[in-house]
Structures are given as C-alpha cells and as structure tokens.
C-alpha cells in the first residue's frame, strides 16, 4: 500500500486513456466539491504542480483554465490560482438529471462487470451519499 495521505493530494495515471489535464481537473474538482480545498486558498503554482507530477506546464495550465471557466478558480499572473466561493449553479433540467442517472448506472455496471463485489460498490455509494448529506 502506498501510504501517502489521501486528504490533500491528487493522483493521475499517465497510462490512462483519459487525457492528463482532464484527470487533473477531475482530481481537483473532487477536492473543491468536498470542501477539502476552501474558497480563499491558493492552489500550487502551475510550474510547481507540473514539476511534481512530471508533466508539461501546458497540461496543468489547461486544467487550471478549465476550472477557471467553470467558476472554481481565478487565475492571477504570478499569484497562482485563487479558489473562489463558487455560487451553486441553477438546478439541472430533467434531461441533465437523466444523463447523470444514466452515467451513474453505467459506472456501477462497469464496476460490477470488472468483478467488484456488489456490497463494496453499494458501500462506496452509501459513503458518498453520507458525505453529500453532511
């Protein structure tokens, strides 16, 4: 087991089919949504995060830009990326809710197809539900 604290780290997989910048966006967004990264905090400078992950600056810059476009960050020259107090977006329309439910169904089906025990999948979903309820 790789014993790095899970709380304030991000992890990417260079061999994954998913582009690295999207993995960085997903990892950072998880921390932002969970509140582990709070408004007013500053994310590591692009250069520093790129060096630590062993990727090109542009990869991290692209990820930060995407999060800025989504309203999570404010990018300031030489001052890094400031985490914003993002307003809750308007409630999703029926079609978006259906898309979300479909994606969740597909993800659960994929996990079960890969051999994950149903109990484990259910426990992970329950843990997420608890986190959201808090």
């Amino acid at each position: 087991m790789y014993s790095v604290s899970e709380t304030r780290t991000i992890q990417i997989d260079l061999a994954s089919a998913e582009p690295v910048y999207k993995q960085i966006v997903a990892a950072l967004r998880t921390h932002l949504v969970s509140g582990r990264i709070k408004p007013g905090e500053t994310l590591p400078p692009i250069r520093q995060l790129a060096v630590e992950l062993g990727v090109h600056f542009n990869t991290v810059a692209e990820a930060y830009r995407m999060l800025a476009d989504q309203g999570w960050l404010e990018l300031k020259r030489r001052r890094g990326a400031l985490v914003l107090d993002r307003e809750t977006p308007r409630p999703p329309q029926k079609q978006e809710r259906q898309t979300f439910a479909k994606r969740l169904d597909e993800m659960v089906a994929e996990a079960l197809a890969q051999g994950l025990p149903p109990k484990q999948v259910a426990a992970a979903l329950a843990r997420m539900a608890d986190d959201l309820a808090e």
């Binding site: 087991m1 790789y2 014993s3 790095v4 304030r8 780290t9 991000i10 992890q11 990417i12 997989d13 260079l14 061999a15 994954s16 950072l28 921390h31 990264i37 994310l43 590591p44 400078p45 250069r47 520093q48 995060l49 790129a50 060096v51 630590e52 992950l53 062993g54 990727v55 090109h56 600056f57 991290v60």
Partner: protein, 355 residues
C-alpha cells in the same frame, strides 16, 4: 620509470573508487539507469553485469596508473580517460540490464499543500564565503603599494613559473573569479531548492531520508563555495600577497592550496557511500515509505545511455541522477542549457574579459 606525481595518483584512485561504487549507490530499483525490481541487483544476472563493469573500471585504473608511471600520460588525461571508460561501461551495463527492466509506474501524485517546508541554511553561513573574499580584497587594497611589480600567475610546482605586471585587475583577478563562480553556485542552489525546478520523490513527512540527503547536497555546495573562497584568497594573500614571504615559507603556499583543494574529496566519497542516491543507504525511520511504486518518476526511454535525461513532457529542470548520486539536468528544458552555458562558458568569458 619516472617519479610518480602523487596528486595524479590520488585523484585517479579516488575517481576509480567512486566509479567502481557508482552502480550500487543508486536507489535499489534503479540499476545502470534502468528501472528493475529491487531484488535484481542481487540476482545472478545483476551480479554478473556489476562484476563485468567493475572489472573494466579496475583494469582502466590500473592501465592509467601504469601509463603514468611510464611517463605516457599528462596530469589531466586520467580524468578524461576514466570518465570515458566509465561512460562506455555504464552504457554497456544499461544495454545488458534493459531486458530485465520492470515496468515503471505510470502513477503520479502531488501534494496541494504548498511548497516544502525544510530547514534552510542560515544567512550567516551563506554569507561566509563572501566575507572571506571581502576580507582578502580589503587587505590587498590597503597593502597594494607593497605588492611587487611582477605578480605570479601560474605554478607548475612550489615555485611560480609565469608572471604578469602589477595592476589593479591583475591583483584582484583571483578574487573576482571566485566571486563570479560563487554567484553561479548561488544560482544553482536556488534553482535546486525551488519546487518549481526540482522534483523530489517523497514528501519529507513520509520519509525524511530524501530530505536529509537533499540538505546534505546543499551543504556540500556551500562547502564548495567556502573552499573556493579560501583557495583563491590563499593564492591572493599567501602566494602573491605583499607579506607572502614573511607569512609562508617558500613552497608551503603551493602545498597549502593542494591540501585545501583536495580536502573535500574524501568527504564527498564518504557522503556518497553513507547516503546513497536520495538517502537510500540511510537507515529507514519507523514511518518510512513502504511499497512505493517502482521507479523514480522518470521514464526509462528518456534516459540516453542510461545517464542523460531528455524529456520535453517533464517540467522539471533538476531530477535525481541515475548514474552516481545527486541531481542532473533535464536537457529538454532551455534553462538547463542556460545553466550549462553559464558553468562552462561563464568562467572562460570572465577570464577573457579580465585579461
């Protein structure tokens, strides 16, 4: 058979010892610049490759010394020959190890908790070399009139064999050179210590061995700055200064410089053997990282001849060396070439300007 030059013999032996040790100074999952399972080094194949490399290094050291004793080699050649043989031997070891390589983990992690917090070298310690050089400058300034009209600039032995007419530039040239080199080393230390340029593998809180190793590297660089300041001040004061004949008996100044210049060699060898790459030879603390992914977070394919790192997709300028211990440059980054240009061309340009 000629009288041996013991400086030559000492440098050759010390260098050979370091090169002989080099493959076992790496982290346990890096062997001749290739990522391998940690157990590979002690396997029959691993021992065979290591044995052959060491035979080659021993033979080249013996031949170099024999050539010197028979008056075939000048004093600067052994370093070139040994470095060349070592590079070829390493490339051969790399080639032989590649079929046994383990897959490098594609997993990458980064902390979001800002820059590393590590003890810094105090300001008092950092300004020491400049204080030494300033003291020598003030001394020469006040006793300028007492300096002889002709100043020695070259020594092949205890007595000088080349001179230059006295002027302000000639008097202060060694101290200007030392200051310029020291400033270049400041730049090296600053970029090495910055998380914007150097990748470290393990967070200090999880395993402090790498952090201790890194601090030792910075202290060694500072020690080199002190040594440079002392050597150049020594030359300026005890070998060509206004009171040199009274302060130092004839010839002692020359031997003093040699002793000073070589004093860091045994220290460096001891530290290399004690620490190993990234502190891997230090005893693990109770909270040391276990089961970390294989590799040093650099792809094997980006290591040319197992020694030179070239990865345009990596933002790091400094990464851990795979041959020997310490840090090396990512040659795909423009700053690396700027640094290399500074370290090679800088002193040459300065000498030209000061002439």
């Amino acid at each position: 058979m000629m009288e041996p030059n013991w400086l030559f013999v000492t440098i050759t032996l010390a260098l050979s010892l370091l090169l002989w040790m080099m493959p076992t100074l790496s982290r346990s999952d890096i062997f001749f610049g290739v990522t391998v399972p940690p157990s590979f080094r002690d396997s029959p194949e691993g021992r065979h490759i290591l044995g052959r490399y060491r035979q080659l290094m021993t033979a080249s050291a013996v031949l170099t010394l024999l050539a010197h004793f028979n008056d075939f080699l000048s004093s600067s050649l052994p370093v070139v020959i040994l470095a060349l043989v070592s590079t070829l031997g390493w490339a051969w070891g790399n080639h032989m190890t590649r079929p046994h390589s383990a897959s490098v983990s594609p997993e990458r992690r980064a902390t979001l908790d800002g820059a590393r917090r590590e003890p810094q070298i105090s300001l008092q310690a950092r300004i020491g070399p400049y204080l030494i050089l300033s003291a020598a400058t003030i001394y020469l300034y006040f006793y300028y009139d007492l300096l002889p009209d002709s100043l020695p600039v070259h020594w092949s032995g205890p007595e000088p064999d080349r001179f230059t007419p006295k002027n302000w530039l000639a008097v202060f040239r060694p101290l200007i050179m030392a200051t310029a080199i020291s400033l270049l080393m400041e730049f090296t230390k600053a970029t090495l210590a910055s998380p914007n340029f150097t990748r470290r593998l393990i967070a200090p809180l999880e395993d402090d061995r790498e952090s201790r190793f890194f601090q030792m590297n910075l202290r060694l660089l500072l020690a080199t700055q002190y040594l440079m300041a002392l050597v150049f001040s020594w030359v300026a004061i005890f070998m060509r200064g206004p009171h040199a004949p009274q302060l130092m008996p004839s010839g002692w100044g020359f031997y003093g410089v040699l002793i000073l210049a070589l004093s860091l060699l045994p220290v460096s060898i001891y530290i290399s053997m004690r620490y190993g790459q990234g502190g891997s030879r230090l005893p693990a603390s109770s909270h040391s990282l276990t089961g970390a992914p294989l590799g040093d977070r650099t792809p094997d394919d980006c290591w040319k001849l197992g020694q030179f790192y070239f990865n345009p997709n990596d933002a790091a300028v400094w990464v851990e060396k795979r041959a020997g211990i310490g840090y090396t440059l990512n040659f795909a980054r423009p700053l690396s070439w700027l640094w290399l240009f500074g370290i090679i061309a800088g002193p040459l340009i300065l000498v030209r300007i000061l002439r």
